[in-house]
């Protein structure tokens, strides 16, 4: 992309270049300043928060009070555990089912019923079932107020099945054939040859799913009525978005003095963002690549 230099056109004039930088810098600030504010408010002391009237950009030091209040038991701690659990179990379940289905669909031996199954997966991309029928199915299965309701309905995403399948199709057929000649069962081939060869691809899909589970909000809203079972996103909604206040009932007993409400809210927000930040470098690298392959192939 060094065309500006190779093309022999004079580089843009200084004012134009400055203007571009200012616009892009502005865009970056629009993203970064809110984060700065959130982190600062969560770390500021009580006096600083009240003094600033609620939120501040530069903290007066690092005070972990809000985090200890939130993380030493109580609603938020429990929700955090639920979210972590659902994300881990969900990702494992999703990966297992997605890869098995994708392998079946990619088998060159032409298993019975492979075409219709592939059609069903493709159709699922096009036509969603609708909110109410989905809700009723989960309810008729008796899964309301059950963590399975947060995992199973979205466990297999048709789009990911297609992606994994096309990756499997790219594996050398000779390898699978030679194993077959040696008498390996299909499942052994899948487990011992296909899976080890696709670690990288599955890791990416796994991240896809994990971010989805971590962020999923609406399934929990629909299916989890018992607020002792809420995942973090629902807690975030009721205490930060809707502004319900957290008192001694919701936090663990830590004496009478609570950190200011804003600090607590922002601490919850930070806790829900940090996991995303941790995996973000991988996401960016692989997702960008994935989107590009999709774009080029059409």
């Amino acid at each position: 992309m060094s065309r500006a230099t190779t093309a022999g056109v004079p580089p843009p004039t200084i004012p134009v270049r400055t203007l571009k930088c200012i616009v892009l810098l502005g865009a970056c600030l629009l993203v970064l300043v809110p984060f700065l504010g959130i982190v600062s408010t969560s770390l500021a002391s009580r006096e600083a928060v009240t003094g600033a009237g609620g939120f501040l950009l530069i903290p007066d030091g690092v005070h972990w009070d809000a985090y200890t209040a939130v993380l030493s038991g109580g609603v938020v701690t429990r929700a955090l555990m639920v979210s972590i659990g659902v994300t881990l179990v969900g990702t494992a379940v999703s990966l297992a089912f997605t890869s098995m289905l994708a392998y079946t669909l990619s088998a060159r031996t032409g298993t019975f019923g492979q075409r219709p199954m592939l059609m069903l997966v493709l159709l699922a991309l096009l036509f969603g079932p609708g909110m109410i029928p989905s809700y009723l199915v989960v309810r008729e299965l008796g899964l309301t107020d059950n963590y399975l309701a947060l995992i199973l309905p979205g466990a297999v995403a048709a789009f990911n099945v297609i992606i994994v399948r096309s990756f499997f199709l790219g594996l050398p057929a000779e390898l699978l054939d030679s194993a077959r000649i040696d008498g390996a069962s299909e499942f052994a081939i899948f487990r011992k040859i296909v899976l080890p060869l696709s670690k990288a691809a599955l890791a990416v899909i796994g991240l896809f799913y994990a971010v989805g589970y971590w962020n999923s909000f609406f399934n929990a809203l629909l299916y989890i009525n018992d607020n002792a079972m809420w995942p973090l996103q629902l807690v975030l909604r009721s205490y930060v978005v809707d502004g319900a206040s957290l008192g001694s009932g919701e936090l663990s007993s830590m004496g009478d003095v609570f950190p200011p409400q804003q600090s607590i809210q922002m601490a919850i927000l930070v806790i829900s963002i940090v996991p995303i930040l941790i995996v973000y470098p991988f996401l960016q690298k692989h997702f960008a690549k994935g989107v590009l392959t999709g774009a080029v192939k059409g």
Binding site: A7, A27, G54, F55, V121, A124, F127, A155, V240
Partner: protein
């Protein structure tokens, strides 16, 4: 496969309740058939349904005009940066919000712009008039639109950047030998080179006209009221699941789904007419 069948195709069968007077206590099979009664809401123009439809279309329109061009402009800007490192830095920052959930995005917006948020604190402490955009009915659409831009505009540049990087550098060289300046190159090479992807994405977006930011709106509907905030998906949720009008909700959802498929297929046809590849070629 079983899971996909169970949670995707069983619910599709479950759409039969659109034709029934569903009573939760007696179950789907026992509920009485009522033919197309549940669809009456749609075809007789129930005011609340029409309001939801109107808001959906308005929001789609606003987003097509104000959200759609933003990533294109950003991509052009990024592409014209000379420093590769700066470019990568800006990209890392701008992609980030895409991975946050709507709950987080809404919470971030509230703590920045809400009545007790950072902006208003600042205004208040400087004796200026406060400016409340959260929970303001008139400004609700502006709020939704700016949230969508904040969250996804950066991420959406990826696909445009990919296309930009594929434009043949020789074209630019030839143009500059012929004496074309940067503006003319932009107009005669870059934009024509992006035409295909722009048309394709625009058409795809038209295909999903009936779906606008469901989670985003559910989270913020409370203080605003339904007059400007109700869209088709929230209508289904509020009437069907919260209100217990199962049949009507399912009917609206079913019609929306079918119309959505028709729109996508139609949009694909139109893409072919424009001589583009569209989503697929059969």
């Amino acid at each position: 496969m079983a899971l996909l069948l169970l949670f995707h195709y069983v619910p599709i069968l479950g759409n039969v309740i659109a034709f029934k007077d569903y009573q939760p206590y007696i179950g789907i099979t026992e509920s009485a058939w009522v033919g197309f009664d549940n669809f009456a809401v749609i075809f007789n123009g129930d005011p609340e349904f029409l309001n939801a439809l109107k808001n959906t279309l308005i929001l789609t329109g606003i987003q097509a005009v104000f959200v759609f061009p933003v990533p294109i402009a950003l991509a052009l800007l990024l592409n014209s940066l000379l420093s590769e490192r700066l470019k990568r830095l800006v990209q890392s920052v701008l992609y980030l919000p895409h991975f946050l959930s709507w709950v987080i995005v809404v919470a971030v917006f509230q703590s920045m712009l809400g009545g007790a948020g950072m902006l208003n604190n600042y205004l208040r402490s400087n004796g200026l008039e406060t400016f409340d955009i959260i929970g303001n009915t008139e400004l609700f659409r502006v709020l939704l639109t700016s949230q969508v831009i904040w969250k996804d505009a950066g991420w959406a540049t990826i696909i445009f950047l990919a296309v930009l990087s594929q434009i043949d550098a020789q074209l630019y060289e030839a143009a500059s030998v012929d004496g074309a300046g940067r503006t003319r190159q932009l107009w005669h090479i870059t934009l024509p080179g992006m035409k295909g992807i722009i048309i394709l994405l625009f058409i795809l977006q038209l295909g999903s006209s009936l779906t606008v930011g469901f989670e985003q709106i559910v989270l913020q509907q409370g203080p605003v009221g339904t007059s400007t905030s109700e869209v088709l998906d929230t209508y289904v949720y509020n009437h069907g699941i919260l209100g217990g009008n199962w049949g009507v909700g399912a009917a609206v959802g079913l019609v929306k789904g079918v119309v959505g498929v028709v729109l996508v297929l139609g949009a694909n046809k139109v893409a072919h007419l424009f001589g583009e590849d569209g989503v697929y070629r059969s």
